[in-house]
């Protein structure tokens, strides 16, 4: 993928981080910590606000993030390893965002239906699969008008199973980057703009173009296996 969210690697190893991690005594660490907080508070507040619905909740989250970053002699910050072309601020955003999620889980519990073991219920998976089939064949069919497997006769059920297998095989042969693109568009139903930003496409039009080409390839792959439409 190409593009540029933030191409300037000017903060690969920021001085304030070096000072903090190299502090020789508690006093020096306190001073360095204040400097670090002063430098990165806008970033950390930005992340805290993005996960909270009120100012109070945002400040609680922010406080939790600071505590976690400082605990055990800044254990989390010490885990940072600079990479060519990567920015410390992006890494800190990732760490802070994950800490914010931890905080909300501790305070409010894990949202129902989004556990890691079962991220989607079977109905949503079924609907996604049907939606994908419809999208892949680019036919103007309402997904809800496609009959559920339970309601089909044995022959149609068999045909639906074949469709799914053919689709799964075709998807397995797609490059990971393209599978990711398909997943974001058709499973997560992300907008082209969101996809462009996350996958570093220059514009959303590049997303559409790539999707169009991919669907064409998948359609051809399905047709070569005797699948010529979404209907079972």
């Amino acid at each position: 993928m190409v593009g540029g969210i933030d191409p300037t690697p000017s903060d690969a190893i920021p001085g304030v981080l070096t000072c903090l991690l190299d502090a020789r005594d508690a006093g020096a660490e306190d001073v360095a910590w204040r400097e670090f907080v002063g430098t990165y508070s806008p970033l950390l507040l930005q992340v805290a606000r993005s996960t909270a619905t009120t100012r109070d909740a945002a400040m609680d989250t922010y406080t939790f993030v600071l505590e976690q970053l400082r605990e055990q002699k800044c254990r989390r910050l010490r885990a940072y390893a600079a990479r060519d072309g990567a920015r410390f601020s992006t890494w800190l955003l990732v760490v802070a965002k994950r800490l914010c999620v931890d905080f909300h889980r501790r305070r409010y519990g894990r949202p129902q239906g989004t556990t890691e073991a079962q991220p989607h219920d079977s109905t949503s998976v079924e609907r996604s699969a049907r939606r994908r089939l419809v999208d892949l064949t680019a036919e103007a069919i309402d997904p809800d008008t496609i009959a559920d497997a339970e309601a089909l006769g044995p022959e149609a059920e068999l045909r639906l199973g074949q469709l799914r297998r053919a689709l799964a095989i075709a998807l397995e042969r797609v490059e990971p980057a393209d599978r990711l693109l398909l997943a974001m568009r058709f499973e997560d139903q992300r907008s082209a703009a969101e996809i462009a930003r996350a996958l570093r496409f220059p514009t959303q039009f590049h997303v559409y173009r790539r999707l169009s080409k991919l669907l064409e390839e998948l359609r051809a792959a399905l047709e070569s296996r005797g699948v010529d439409g979404p209907a079972p």
């Binding site: 806008p42 930005q46 606000r49 885990a79 920015r87 997943a183 992300r190 930003r197 570093r200």
Partner: protein
């Protein structure tokens, strides 16, 4: 999420992916995981938005001070405004709009006033406060105080125009001070400074 036994993308891998700093092999592995992991995809989208927002913020004057500066911005909503109102507008309106220092020296943006103009004589029934937006996601706190510094009305809003409600009765021929403090989603604060108008006799 960042422990070693975690099956999801590690902090540095996700960050480097967002920065386009992974090797081809690493990127392929990351994308393979992302294609099959809805949780990591959600994170990717959320954090890419934060990164993009942050890139936009960098074009603005930075709030380079400590957390105290940000906290002080919030405190200023409740404390500094009335205090300044108590002092009364002692400098020219232009000076107030040029105010640029904020707590410990970090830059502070001004909120430009549209109406009422400084020193205007207004009719309460038609009084409408209006100012320029400082950011798409900014929220504003407008306070109106009389000449004894008693706050007569305040409102929290995301709009940039507010009409005085009928429930707020202003006396004729009296001076009033008002100000708007803005807080953007990225922690920047801004203010109109204290403005003054007078009601028609």
């Amino acid at each position: 999420m960042s422990e070693t036994d975690d099956p999801h993308l590690k902090d540095d891998v996700l960050a480097a992916y967002l920065d386009g700093a992974l090797s081809a092999t690493e990127r392929r592995i990351a994308e393979d995981h992302l294609a099959g992991c809805a949780l990591c995809r959600d994170e990717l989208v959320d954090i890419s938005k934060l990164v993009a927002d942050r890139a936009r913020v960098r074009r603005w004057p930075r709030l380079a001070g400590s957390f105290a500066a940000v906290a002080a911005a919030a405190i200023a909503f409740a404390v500094v405004g009335p205090w300044r109102a108590a002092r009364g507008p002692s400098t020219a309106p232009g000076d107030r709009m040029r105010e640029s220092t904020f707590v410990d020296g970090a830059s502070r943006r001004a909120v430009a006033v549209v109406s009422p103009a400084e020193g205007d004589i207004v009719t309460p029934r038609t009084l409408r406060f209006a100012w320029r937006s400082v950011a798409p996601n900014a929220t504003y706190l407008l306070k109106l105080a009389d000449d004894t510094s008693s706050v007569r009305w305040k409102i929290d809003t995301a709009d940039t125009t507010v009409a005085l409600p009928d429930s707020v009765q202003l006396e004729r021929g009296r001076s009033y001070n008002w100000w708007v403090d803005a807080l953007t989603g990225d922690g920047h604060a801004a203010s109109t400074g204290v403005r003054r108008f007078r009601t028609a006799p």
